[in-house]
């Protein structure tokens, strides 16, 4: 026993004293976008990475390789991670940088939980005029910049052109997209008659966000404000009624997939289950990759467009991802400097991040031939001007999105009348806004 005990003691001493002291500055970054350490844990070749997780992980790895004096601690949270962040902030355990949706920034900013970064970014040559309109609006509150925008995203009209061709909805090699609700219904019925498949593929089970994003977009397209001021929603309008009625008709006439959750809807579209998948920018790269696979139903048959303009205005509801810096009075100068270097590095890699399918946050990237040469990007470039987030003074956009989605889903499924759903939607949202 005695030699064994001595050996254990020696190992313990060695493990305590033998380790070299790491005097690098530690930078704690907290992000969503998933974990892919097995595939990209050591990859520093950003150009070789694919998908949100792969590109994000590779950029961070590259940053660490290029900045040997900084140790990055990457805390990957389950999407969207705000419960965890809120708990961390309440416990004074803030990370140095966090990924945050533009729609959520105002909640944390209003409680003094974030530090503005505009002044710091300016010192490294990043100014708000370089951002796209949507990206700038996402991080600007009371004239200050509260984060570095990574991207803007919107819902898109992902099209299976193989099925569109079969449905007679291709003209000059391009899909024919609707220009009014009536055209949408007519084209969807033609599609269903000729292909035997639903025109739309939608994730509608255990999922409310897409209901909300569709509703916001088509009310915005009618030029009617969704909120009259910071405390009042404006949902009991003919415009809101028309937006829900359109989707109710689509469902009632069996022109959409039904009862599919997100995974099932993605699988359905990949397998040629419908003509148009209503999902966001983040799927562009995946579907484009599938379109190059001869075994895929999308082979040589994928195109993607912004939401068609069905009403008076050409706008699409948008949100975006940003890096924000939680307030931490104990952050050292070295840590602060590491944060700044990290943000500058990410700004320089905006074009790499935009390969995910998200819209670049920097106008110069959108204007660059390199970005426009990426698949489908020429068709998506107009989003830089049409992407429209909710007004910044509307707080609690995250829970509001759920409430709006729940009521919209109830109306579209016929669980309650559209008027009742809109009244309930407005009452519930006002209740949230008035108790902030």
């Amino acid at each position: 026993m005695r030699p064994l005990a001595l050996l254990a003691l020696a190992l313990l001493v060695a493990s305590c004293g033998g380790a070299t002291h790491d005097d690098r500055t530690t930078l704690v970054v907290q992000r969503f976008f998933g974990a892919c350490e097995a595939e990209y844990g050591r990859n520093t070749d950003v150009a070789a990475a694919e998908g949100e997780c792969g590109i994000m992980t590779s950029i961070i790895n590259r940053f660490e390789a290029d900045n040997p004096d900084i140790r990055v601690v990457e805390n990957i949270v389950f999407w969207p991670g705000y419960d965890q962040l809120t708990a961390q902030l309440a416990a004074n355990d803030a990370p140095d940088l966090v990924t945050m949706h533009g729609s959520v920034i105002a909640d944390y900013q209003a409680r003094g939980l974030l530090d503005p970064v505009g002044g710091d970014l300016a010192t490294v040559g990043i100014t708000p005029d370089q951002f796209t309109d949507a990206a700038r609006r996402a991080v600007t509150i009371d004239g200050k910049i509260w984060g570095l925008p990574l991207d803007s995203w919107t819902m898109l009209w992902h099209v299976n052109t193989n099925l569109f061709r079969k449905a007679g909805l291709m003209r000059n090699g391009q899909p024919v997209l609707p220009r009014s609700p009536e055209e949408l219904l007519a084209q969807a019925e033609q599609f269903e008659r000729r292909t035997g498949k639903p025109y739309l593929v939608q994730a509608t089970a255990n999922e409310y966000a897409s209901y909300t994003r569709n509703f916001y977009t088509f009310v915005m397209q009618q030029g009617v404000p969704l909120f009259t001021d910071a405390r009042h929603a404006n949902f009991r309008t003919p415009a809101a009624h028309r937006a829900l009625e359109l989707f109710k008709q689509i469902r009632a006439r069996d022109l959409t997939t039904q009862n599919q959750d997100y995974s099932a809807a993605v699988a359905s579209f990949l397998n040629g289950g419908g003509g148009v998948f209503l999902v966001g920018t983040w799927m562009v790269q995946d579907f484009d990759t599938a379109s190059r696979n001869p075994d895929s139903a999308l082979h040589n048959g994928y195109a993607v467009f912004p939401y068609p303009q069905l009403f008076q205005r050409n706008v699409t509801f948008a949100d975006g991802h940003n890096w924000v810096m939680p307030h931490n009075p104990e952050r050292t100068l070295a840590e602060h400097e590491a944060v700044l270097r990290f943000l500058k590095f990410f700004a320089a890699h905006d074009a790499d991040w935009a390969r995910t399918g998200h819209m670049p946050a920097f106008a110069a990237v959108i204007d660059s031939p390199k970005w426009r040469a990426l698949p489908h990007r020429a068709a998506l470039a107009e989003i830089a001007h049409t992407a429209t987030p909710l007004p910044k003074q509307i707080r609690r956009q995250f829970p509001i999105e759920t409430v709006v989605g729940q009521e919209a889903a109830a109306a579209i499924a016929g669980n309650k009348s559209i008027d009742q759903a809109l009244a309930d939607m407005e009452r519930r949202v006002n209740d949230i806004l008035q108790h902030i």
Binding site: N206, N259, F398, A409, A413, K416
Partner: protein
């Protein structure tokens, strides 16, 4: 000990109390203080970062005028009604069948208890694969039989029963084990006497077994009422409280209000209502079973 003077007895009592002090400290710190804190929070306007002010009973008044909260109260009661009686009856039935010294019984006891050790994430994942209308097990079977698959989790009337079935599958192990333990305490001699008297199986069950395990029956009901009132994970993962709020229970309401809307005071008020509901339900059950026993 009878010779101790009152003063010495008092001193001895005080010393004895020291033995329970460690537990008492943990109990007060982990149960009493949070409970009192929650009660205080329910009378304030607060978020996780601070309290804005005392609002008295405003949160409670708002709660009882909130149709969504009232629906969650009904949903929670409905779920308890769907699950607790079935958990008790099925748990007892399984225990009666498996209460024997046979290898197959031991294997089945293990199998039936195995689901209890799974996390809610795994359980709901498994049952979503059963209920999915597109490619779920039930849909495959229904199509094979020439029928149209039913979207259980998307149907306002079927979603809660689907969650109840999931929960019963998940939770059946505990009542079964409790009943098994109780059945093994029933004296063998009573069954032998009944056999000598040619008592039927039904008569043996109703005259010997059930009266002998009535305390356990009450215990199972009380435990399950307390557990099932706290429904959260299953609807959070299977339906997000939908469709049309049909599966939103009180705890999900508390979570969404406190964490998503940052209304900690309002969420605490809902938590106090839930606490009162569980307390009353458990006490009524306890009172009923004690009264029966006293007779």
């Amino acid at each position: 000990m009878a010779s101790l003077t009152p003063r010495r007895r008092r001193a001895t009592d005080w010393t004895n109390a020291l033995f329970v002090l460690p537990y008492l400290i943990v109990f007060v710190a982990m149960i009493v203080v949070p409970l009192a804190w929650g009660m205080w929070l329910s009378t304030t306007k607060s978020d996780l970062f601070g309290t804005e002010g005392f609002v008295g009973l405003t949160n409670f008044v708002r709660l009882f005028g909130d149709p969504i909260f009232l629906q969650t109260v009904w949903n929670t009661f409905y779920f308890v009604l769907l699950t607790v009686p079935l958990l008790a009856v099925l748990g007892l039935a399984l225990a009666l069948v498996l209460n024997r010294q046979a290898r197959w019984a031991a294997v089945l006891r293990t199998i039936f208890f195995a689901s209890t050790v799974l996390s809610v994430t795994v359980v709901t994942l498994v049952w979503r694969l059963v209920f999915l209308p597109d490619s779920g097990l039930l849909s495959v079977v229904t199509r094979a039989l020439g029928g149209t698959p039913i979207a259980f989790l998307n149907d306002e009337t079927l979603a809660m029963p689907a969650i109840a079935i999931t929960t019963i599958w998940w939770c059946i192990g505990l009542p079964m084990v409790l009943f098994l333990a109780a059945l093994q305490q029933v004296p063998r001699a009573l069954y032998e006497a009944a056999a000598l008297d040619n008592a039927s199986r039904w008569r043996t069950l109703t005259r010997i077994t059930l009266p002998a395990i009535r305390r356990t029956f009450a215990l199972v009901i009380i435990i399950e009422v307390i557990l099932q009132f706290q429904l959260f994970g299953q609807p959070q993962l299977m339906t997000l409280g939908g469709p049309n709020n049909a599966t939103r229970p009180i705890v999900l309401f508390i979570y969404e209000t406190g964490w998503r809307q940052w209304e900690l005071g309002y969420a605490s008020a809902a938590a106090q209502v839930l606490f009162a509901m569980i307390l009353i339900a458990a006490m009524v059950q306890y009172w009923l079973s004690s009264r029966r026993e006293a007779r």
